[in-house]
Structure formats: structure tokens, C-alpha cells
Amino acid sequence: MPQTLFDKIWQAHMVARRADGRDLIYIDRHVLHELHAPHAFEQLEKQHRHVRRPDLTFSMQDHTVATKPGRDDTTNPSGAAFLKAMRDGSRRNRIRLFDIDDPEQGISHVVAPELGMVLPGATHAVPDSHASTVGGLGALAFGCGTSELAHILATQVMALRRPKSMLIRLEGKLAAHVTAKDVALRIIAELGVAGARGHVVEYAGAAVRAMTIESRMTLCNLNIEMGGRSGFVAADEAAFSWIEGRPFAPKDAMWDRALAHWRTLTSDDGAKFDREHVLDCSALEPQITWGTDPSQVLGISGRVPDPATVDLGRRAAIESALAYMGLQPGMALAGLPVDRVFIGSCTNSRLPDLKAAADVARGRRVAAGVIAMVVPGSTTVKRAAEAAGLDRVFRDAGFLWGESGCSMCAGGNGDRGEPGERCVSTTNRNFEHRQGPKVRTHLVSPATAAATAVAGRIADVRQLMSGQG
């Protein structure tokens, strides 16, 4: 019987079925961060249990690190205890830590792939809902809570109920300045914030094949915003060459052997998915969220909904989102003044994201009164961006250039907006108060964010770049 790639990975990693009917799925790579791991270390120690495979486990300092140049533990005072507990816990448990001053520190979902820890057909777990970012390389990744994290540390497996499968086919060719972020936002708009709940999503189709690996990671990153259990793109030659030569990737004869195996990792023709969804991306324009969840999305030339014209069941949610966001029914978003622009996070902080933003910022200036900030996803990305002169482009344009970390995505490090500010952001959640109390977040691509920063108003990057902005 034809199998989906998800079936194949699941089956290959199934260790046993537990007495309660859950499948024990082996976790090939486990990446921790300091916001949740310290509690799990403590849980394990109370239970007198040890970490089964510290050699397959890695620790990152990302959520609470300050982004200010010259930072240390004390720059974000509330982070210090987390950083120390992570440091101590990783040492006690013999886990390799990428500490705040490590030349390869960064956001777990950015660092793990760029160091070659993430491999096609492998399983991956992170105590963070954006774990499936690394699905861009064909890995099956699960986000988990703290107790599950302790469970993986002690056993190296997750006890899971098997999710359903879903195929999202992205057809057509993206127009200039339209990115994976725009595609992902459109999918969430179509399927809703619970649209992929209980499902593992495979993204396929011509538009996906044409995406860079970094763009595929952006696409898979946002899978959780429609409730997906995991999401991935089957690895292809582009993925294999992306991985080859990275520090933790297999080498020499083992590389050849791995590669031969990876080339078999596709869904079979005729494989059955529990659900399928198709999106033609050809006519897609840059997208932007208008509301307070990631499904409340518009094309950049669109108008926000009018609660009076929608059915009663949806009316209250739309009214409440409009009120929080300070918007009037039926208005256009393009042209709306902004206070802050953030470019970064596990969604959009890899080198091509920064290049796309720099291409827009080059030779322009951040509008007066706008605070614009770029935070690379890892210290490696930061170095590469600096080698390419991108930091110069951003600084010359008036952007702040930070040290790597999660930063303003969730504000766990103190980076956040002021009450009432309108913030255009390349992150993944526009929930109320997420980027600071009463901050109004609009999610966009890096290009749209940069265009907005220089315009001082929500901008259509296509117009700016064609000289009509």
C-alpha cells in the first residue's frame, strides 16, 4: 500500500506501543531552551532519573537573552536566573550548551539546522511550539511541554497518539516580493487557527519546490498557528546540498550512505492523506494580519472586515479584534502610520530574510519617529550578515542591529513595545499583549516590514521597489 512520508518516518521511529495505546516514537535530536528546560531538569532530579542520551541533546540560550550589543547575563535582569539554571543543568547532565557568548548561540530553531543537527527523515523535539520550523529540511519535529521534555530526557522517546495526515499543495509561482511568509499567512487565513489541529502537514507542489530551504523553514514554522501537530517539506536535492558540509552532518562514506537513504524519503504516488488542501500562489500579494490571531489576514491592498456584514457567530470576535487593534471597519491597512518595526524571530531571521529586508532598506532611511530593529536568528547568521555588509545597510538606514535571540517575538528578554504602539513584525503571533501590554502587532514578511519602516506607514513593498511608494 502506498505510504505518505509521515507514515514512513513514524513507522521507522516506532519503538513500541505502550500499554495505554500510545506509540513510543524515538526522538533523534532533542533541543532545549532556557525558558522551560530548568524546570524539567529539576523534575528529573526529584525523580532520581538521569538523561538517557545527552549526546543527542543540545541546550540553547534564546528566549531570555538580551539583544543589546555587549550583552551578558545581567543585561536582561529577569533572564539571569534562567541562563544560570540552564548552564548549571546542562553541565550536570552533560549536555552541550550554546551559551549566551557562544559563537554559535541563537534561536534553537535556527541554530539546529544551520549546524547540521537536523536531518531528513529524522525526528526532532523542542519544548517550543515552533519546533516544526526544521520541517523545512524534511524532519518530523514536535513541540512539547515541560513534563514531556522531562520524559524525552529520561527515555529519548515521546509517547504520542498518532496524528492524522494532511497534504497542502502549493501551486503556481510566487510574484516578486511575495514570500513564504505571505503564503503561510494565506494558508492560515483559509484554514483557520485550528485548521490543522491533530494533523501532521506535508507541504508540496511547485511553489514549495521553488522555495529556498530558509523559506521552507518559514512555511513550516507557522504550521502551529493553524494548530498543526507538525509540518514538513520532503527533502530534495536542494535540501541535501544545504546540509552537506555543516558541522554535525554526516561526512564521507556515511554521507553517501545517508544520502542514498534520504533519496527514498518521499510520499509514494497514490498515498492517501486524511485531508488535502490546494492553494494557487500565482495571484498572491504580500499579506498582513489585521487582527489578534494569525488567521485574521489581508492582502496588502485589502480592507479590514466590517463586523456588520459577517454572520453573528463571528461578529463579536471581529469587533473585539478591531477595538484592540484600533481599526475602523472596512478601512485599508496600507498607509496606516506605525511606531515600531521588528525583523527577526524563528520565523524570519535567517540570512535570506535579512537580505530581503536589506534590499529594501538599502539607500533609504527609517521614517522619523519609527523604532526599527533587526535581530538575527543566530550569532552565525549575524556574522554572515556582517560579512555581507548587511549590518551596515541597516545601520545606515537607521535600524538597530541586535545580538541574536527570540527578542520581541514574545518579549521574554524585555524587548517590547510601549502601550498603544502599532508594531509591524516578522514574527508568528499577533496575540493581544504579546509584544508588550496593548501593543498592536501586524505580522508580515521581512520585505514588507522593511518597506513599512522606511515609509513610516504600512507599505506595499512592490510599490516602494517600483518607485511608486
Partner: protein, 209 residues
Amino acid sequence: MQPFTTHTGIAVPLMRDDVNTDQIAPVQSMRSLKPDYKALLFMRARRRDDGSEDPDFVLNRPQFRGPGILVTGHNFGAGSSREAAVWGMLANNIRVIVAKSFADIYRENCLQNGLLPIVLEPRDAAAFADRVIAVNGAAPFTVDLRTQRISGPGGADISFDIPAADRMRLLEGLDDIGLTLKHADEIASWEHRTAADQPWLQAAVDRRL
């Protein structure tokens, strides 16, 4: 884990869909390794702009100050994987959430902590929500996991379904890691087999070192 057999408490109606973990346990409330989990629950909704208590928020109303059961809409617990969003419930003695549906990770976090996540049949869910609103905290409801029934004022008992395995785990307060470690031999043999068949999976080595 604390076993769950029955729980009696005031049922609080929070009749909204897509309540997310940033609402339940804002990240700004987790600035210390040991935050006040009782206070962080719905921290933002509880307070007005001037810092005073918002008397309109349901958990601030006098009749709901001692909650026991939360009744809510679809996709409860969407967003982050942070377990504080469950610990905050327990710190407030909320040991049952009756939702129209749960976000996947949130539901797992409930099961890990002896918090019973109940999804009623759509018709029962609507009727139960109406009843909870009508009772308005005047008397408690009792949830019995052994009989899979909810009883209380204003109507007949309601039965609910839950996967048998989840039910057993909650009833017995089973140690999840302990359950898995019964398969330690199978884990070891999987590792052994994979080290031979796909050695790259079992070796996460920095090849520069």
C-alpha cells in the same frame, strides 16, 4: 502525578473560542523560575489599565472566586507549549476544563498534570454551557471520572467520553516516564538496530572537534 477520581467545584463560564496561552499565562508573568502561578492565570484580563481589578472579568466576580471547573469554547490553549498555562489552572484549584475542543499540546500538558480535559458532544456542550451560565456559581458541579459523568444543579447528569488510556492514566495518577521505561529494552534495541542501519541518526557529533 496526583490521581484524578472526582472533583467538585464551581463551574466558571468563559465562553470564547481560541483562548490562547498568552492569555492564560502571559510570558511577561514568567520572569522568574518560580512565578506566582496562582496570580499569573489570566493575569491581563483580571486587571484594568490602572492596575485595579476588573470586576467584569468572570474570575473576578464574587461567585467565581473559588473556581473548580472551567467551561469554554473551541481550540482552548492554542499557541505556545508553555506548561505554566496548566500549572496556573491547578494553582487556582481548576482541575477540570470542559471545552468544545483543545489545542493538541495544551491537552497533552493537561494529561501530564492530572488536569482533566473534557470535550462534550456538540449538543451536550451547548446545553451544559447554558446551564453553567444559568447556575451562575450558585452551587458546585461534580465531575466523576470513574463513572464519566458530570452532575450538578439545574438538570440531569451528563456523560462524557475520554480515551480509555487517558482515563486510566488520570485515575491511577500513573507516572508517564515510568510507563515508558517498562519498554527500556525495546528502546535500547531500537538504538542498537538504528546504529547499524542509519548510523547518522545515532551520532550527533560535531565533526570539527
